[in-house]
């Protein structure tokens, strides 16, 4: 299960937060844990360089893209490798939508599209689509090219 996908800006403010199967009372804890993890480790990290951590039996893969940090949390079959795949799809799609690693402003400008991409990538905790070109077409309601 992919437990959470979270985007934050450089100051650690949340831009997008989507949880699956995480009780409401634990979300705040996760949010602050992830933001702290990013604050401690993401300085000087190159775009899309993946960092990894585990907290109890839960895995976290996170990275930075432009002015935005991205965190993906999973457990069981969504271990560090599967999450690396998920975050790769997310970063490629966000870059695709924004045309480059986004500034915070650009990210917010494309907010609606990014939400649609996330909707195509993760569905209630399961990975659904993995190809950015296909996702780009799907959010515009166009069938995939390989079909």
């Amino acid at each position: 299960m992919i437990l959470a996908v979270l985007f934050a800006n450089l100051e650690g403010n949340i831009l997008v937060e989507r949880f699956n199967g995480v009780p409401a009372e634990e979300r705040l804890h996760w949010r602050s844990f992830l933001v702290k993890l990013g604050a401690e480790n993401l300085k000087g990290v190159k775009n899309e360089e993946l960092l990894v951590a585990c907290h109890k039996s839960v895995y976290i893969v996170y990275t930075v893209l432009g002015d935005v940090s991205i965190y993906v949390v999973g457990k069981d079959e969504y271990d560090e490798l599967a999450l690396a795949e998920v975050i790769f799809v997310i970063t490629s799609s966000v870059k695709d939508v924004c045309g480059k690693p986004p500034t915070e402003r650009l990210f917010l400008d494309k907010y609606g599209k990014i939400c649609l991409c996330l909707d195509e990538i993760v569905w209630k905790g399961l990975l659904e689509n993995v190809d950015k070109d296909r996702i780009r077409r799907l959010i515009r309601m166009k069938p995939p090219t390989d079909f």
Binding site: N9, E11, N13, I14, L15, V16, E17, R18, R27, E40, N41, E49, L50, L51, V52, A53, C54, V61, E77, D79, E80, L81, A82, A84, E85, T103, E104, R105, L106, L108, D109, Y111, G112, C115, L116, D119, W123, K124, L126, L127, E128, N129, V130, L138, I139, R140, M141, K142, P143, P144, D146, F147
Partner: protein
């Protein structure tokens, strides 16, 4: 919530100046959402409003029921628009709002229409939305369409239906299970993702059908799997099939091993890892099978990608727990990971090295770790400290460098949990490695000179009081202890006074000097410190001369409080100041029988400080004192063993009763701890009627009635039996609680004068062989075994029949014998097919017994056991064999 960006320097991009959501406010956005009701829809504007709503929801904002309903109904109006982009947003918005069952109906027809649309993408999205918001009844209506969708030629439609199926399987399994033919067809799809989703769903549908899973795996391992994700799933399912099928007895080959090994050469890293992990987790994996997996994992240790390094070291760390030798080849690569920027990777590397390292590499490793410790977080440090503790217990000869390491890190900065982990480790090492004692105690003394945690200071002072007087030169610790009296807060000062008194009691030559110090404490500013000093000066006696301290004083100082604190607190609260002093002997000794659920809570790890691992002696002491205070039992002699309380009632019944079995040489006493949980009742003349017809060797001699059992105040009644001397007689006893019940007026608390006799059936109770065995461990089993000698050794072999696992067999035999597992041998490595477990105990008559159990398990889970017993008396060795033979 995201802060709007403030104006930055002029040279920044203009675009970065303002957030499009600057000053966004829920009320205003909800107002804006009224545009959804416009007769002429502005698709662009509507999309913008939906984006704002999504932004609010993604920030954790919530809508009230009324607000959500209003937005939902407004959004449904947007189905009138033909704008494709807006329709996509509408689908997402409906999912985000997750409308309630009574609201869903409003969109059902629109979604059904889309689901039958000629435009594939409408179909796919409508399926996803419908399945998200649907309930069972609607699902049966749309089932036909979903089955068609699963085999739709458009992969997006098929995937939408399959992923919906995975979710719906949780809520409506019987419906989804009917789709297995279509799903089976989808598994053969040429579209990679369709195959992946179909495989996941098909396995979930059939996971309880072993044969079907086996067939699925067989056909797919021969065919083509199109995506790495699906290949990973296939590897997982293959492992499951391998677990459930026997190894080929002739060739020793494992079915599907070749497939797993082949996957190690796959081009996707994800697949390679999955296969390597599957191989390392095979039950009873051999080193030949393990080698190729370890080799690929070793390559990944030097990957440039942190995720791959992490995955590799995490897997190897797991392997090191069961097959440390297999991982030693990777040690050099792992050592270079100690300096990895990612601290999770570095910590995993270190803990793996600590498991695989040999005695000669300990010093080198410790040097590397020292540099590493300064720049990791406390949570990682704790993991390392725990690994070092295990390493030290594994190589006791290396205690010096490991203890030095622990004392060095103890001096550095760190939070409470970290410091506590270090102190606990030092205490455990002191306890288990006699040579480490004096040095270890001095390290602890130095630590309390500058310790900011009151809890740790008091714990260490307590430990010093017990261990310090037994060292060769106890006087050297006094300075550190007495410094506390000058420099610390009242809690620590009071502890220090108690510790001083313990030295005074145990070391006669120090007594006069301790008296001087204690007298100085009489002028302390704190009541408790003064009270303790006064108490100890009076109890130590001898007026400060070099005289031996009497036994009672030692008992008082070193014995633990035999009254449960809860009961003492209740009694003190109930005590009304009067001429009559408070009598501690009147406090009930037994803890209220606890609800079962509470007892099942996972036990804390032994912390090291406090009681010895073989079980708290204080409880035994308390029982001994309690029993000896009862005249009927006074001539029973020395208490051999008291069992843990056995519950005789279910949780939350009217009367909660548990029983403790006290074993004497010629007697057994059952102590029934009873609690009355009904406020409106008072029980009197409480006794337990025991039927011992299934315990022939026992005859009842005494039954001690409990006069009164008021609400929520535990009390005890006893029944004693005589049995043949020194014989481990066993039997089954049925129990009936008998009492007179009186009504109590809840307002006044007064009981009626008249009562009614009543009975309450309790569960049966058994006296078993393990009751005659004390769990007493030995620190070095091999030494103990050899010094016992083979004269009274008895060896025999037993078939234990089919068992779930070796772990289960080990715990069954240890529990049957009631002995203490030594040197951690009760833990069976996960894939082992053979295991040796060492047990030690003291048998009734105070005779030491050592047991060596060797287990083996074959492919059909049949367990064979070789039991070797050594004891001081051959009849005892025979008796142990008899217990096993009859158990």
């Amino acid at each position: 919530m995201a802060q709007p960006l403030v104006k930055k320097d002029d040279d920044r991009d203009d675009e970065a100046e303002y957030s499009p959501f600057l000053g966004i406010e829920k009320g205003a956005v909800l107002q804006e959402a009224r545009v959804f009701n416009d007769p002429q829809l502005d698709a662009r504007r509507c999309s913008q409003v939906i984006t704002k709503l999504l932004y609010l929801l993604n920030q954790g904002e919530t809508f009230t029921k009324v607000e959500a309903t209003e937005v939902f109904f407004a959004v449904t109006k947007l189905f009138q628009s033909r704008d494709i982009g807006l329709r996509r947003m509408v689908y997402l918005m409906i999912k985000e709002l997750s409308p309630s069952a009574d609201e869903v109906i409003i969109v059902t027809s629109s979604l059904m229409k889309d689901m039958n649309s000629k435009t594939d993408m409408y179909r796919a999205n409508a399926i996803r939305v419908l399945c998200r918001i649907t309930d069972g009844t609607l699902l049966t209506q749309i089932e036909r369409y979903l089955k068609q969708a699963i085999v739709d030629k458009n992969p997006v439609v098929a995937s939408a239906a399959l992923v919906s199926g995975i979710h719906l399987l949780q809520t409506n399994p019987e419906i989804v299970k009917r789709w297995s033919n279509e799903v089976q067809e989808a598994v053969q799809s040429r579209a990679a993702l369709v195959q992946f989703h179909a495989l996941a769903l098909l396995h979930q549908i059939r996971q309880n059908d072993r044969l079907a899973v086996s067939k699925l795996v067989t056909s797919l391992t021969r065919g083509t799997v199109r995506s790495p994700l699906a290949q990973c799933l296939l590897i997982r399912y293959t492992s499951q099939v391998i677990r459930e099928s026997p190894v080929n007895a002739q060739t020793g080959d494992r079915p599907f091993y070749d497939f797993l090994e082949g996957c190690l050469r796959h081009k996707a890293e994800m697949v390679i890892f999955e296969a390597a992990r599957a191989i390392t987790e095979l039950s009873g994996v051999t080193s030949r099978e393990l080698t190729p997996a370890i080799t690929v994992l070793q390559l990944f240790l030097s990957s440039s990608k942190p995720v791959l390094r992490f995955a590799a070291v995490r897997t190897l760390n797991k392997v090191a727990m069961t097959h440390p030798m297999a991982v030693t080849n990777c040690n050099i690569d792992m050592e270079s990971l100690i300096s990895d920027q990612n601290r999770s990777i570095a910590t995993l590397a270190i803990t793996t090295l600590l498991k695989t390292g040999n005695e000669s590499s300990v010093d080198r490793l410790m040097k590397q770790i020292t540099n590493f410790m300064s720049d990791i977080a406390d949570e990682f440090k704790i993991v390392v400290v725990e690994a070092i503790r295990s390493l030290c217990l594994k190589f006791p000869l290396k205690y010096r460098s490991l203890m030095n390491f622990l004392s060095n890190i103890l001096r550095e900065e760190g939070g409470f949990e970290y410091k506590k982990a270090i102190v606990d480790s030092i205490v455990i090492l002191i306890r288990d490695i006699p040579d480490a004692k004096e040095g270890g105690l001095l390290h602890l003394c130095e630590f309390i000179e500058d310790c900011e945690f009151t809890y740790l200071s008091t714990q260490i002072l307590h430990f010093l009081g017990i261990e310090g007087p037994k060292t060769s030169d106890p006087s050297k610790y006094i300075r550190y202890i007495y410094n506390r009296v000058h420099l610390e807060n009242a809690t620590v000062r009071a502890s220090a006074v108690s510790t001083l008194a313990k030295f005074g009691a145990m070391v006669d030559s120090l007594k006069p000097r301790i008296f001087v110090l204690l007298r100085r404490c009489l002028f302390d500013s704190d009541d408790e410190v003064r009270d303790r000093a006064t108490l100890y000066i009076n109890t130590l006696g001898g007026d400060g001369l070099v005289v031996e301290t009497d036994k009672d004083t030692k008992d008082f100082l070193f014995g633990s409080l035999d009254v449960p604190l809860v009961n003492l607190e209740t009694s003190l609260k109930n005590y009304e100041p009067s001429e009559e002093p408070f009598d501690i002997n009147a406090v009930p000794r037994e803890v209220k029988s606890q609800p079962l659920a509470e007892k099942k809570a996972p036990g804390k790890k032994p912390t090291g400080l406090g009681a010895a691992p073989s079980g708290p002696p204080s409880t035994v002491d308390a029982y001994e004192r309690l029993l000896s205070s009862i005249s009927e039992f006074a001539n029973f002699g020395q208490l051999f063993k008291s069992s843990a309380p056995v519950e005789l009632t279910e949780a939350e019944t009217e009367y909660a009763v548990n029983v403790v079995k006290h074993i004497f040489n010629r007697h057994v006493v059952f102590q029934y701890n009873c609690t009355n949980t009904i406020p409106e009742q008072l029980l009197e003349n409480v006794s337990v009627l025991v039927d011992a017809s299934e315990a022939e060797e026992f005859s009842e001699v005494v039954s001690k009635v409990l006069r009164s059992l008021p609400y929520d105040s535990p009390g005890q009644t006893f029944v004693a039996f005589e049995k043949p001397e020194g014989v481990p007689a066993v039997g089954k006893f049925s129990n009936m609680l008998r009492f007179i019940v009186k009504e109590v007026d809840p307002t006044t608390g007064e009981a009626d004068d008249d009562g009614v006799e009543d009975e309450y059936q309790l569960e049966d109770l058994e006296v078993v062989a393990a009751d005659y065995m004390q769990k007493v461990g030995v620190s070095n089993f091999r030494n103990a075994w050899e010094s016992m000698g083979p004269d009274c050794e008895r060896v025999d072999e037993y078939g234990l029949g089919p068992r779930e696992s070796l772990t289960e067999a080990v715990s069954a035999v240890s529990n049957l014998l009631g002995m203490q597992p030594c040197e951690g041998t009760e833990v069976v490595p996960s894939n082992s097919r053979s295991h040796t477990c060492l047990l030690s105990g003291v048998y009734i008559g105070n005779l030491k017994v050592l047991v060596r159990l060797q287990f083996g398990i074959d492919g059909s889970k049949e367990v064979a056991m070789k039991l070797a017993v050594r004891s001081e008396d051959e009849t005892i060795s025979d008796a142990i064999h008899e217990i096993v033979a009859s158990g």
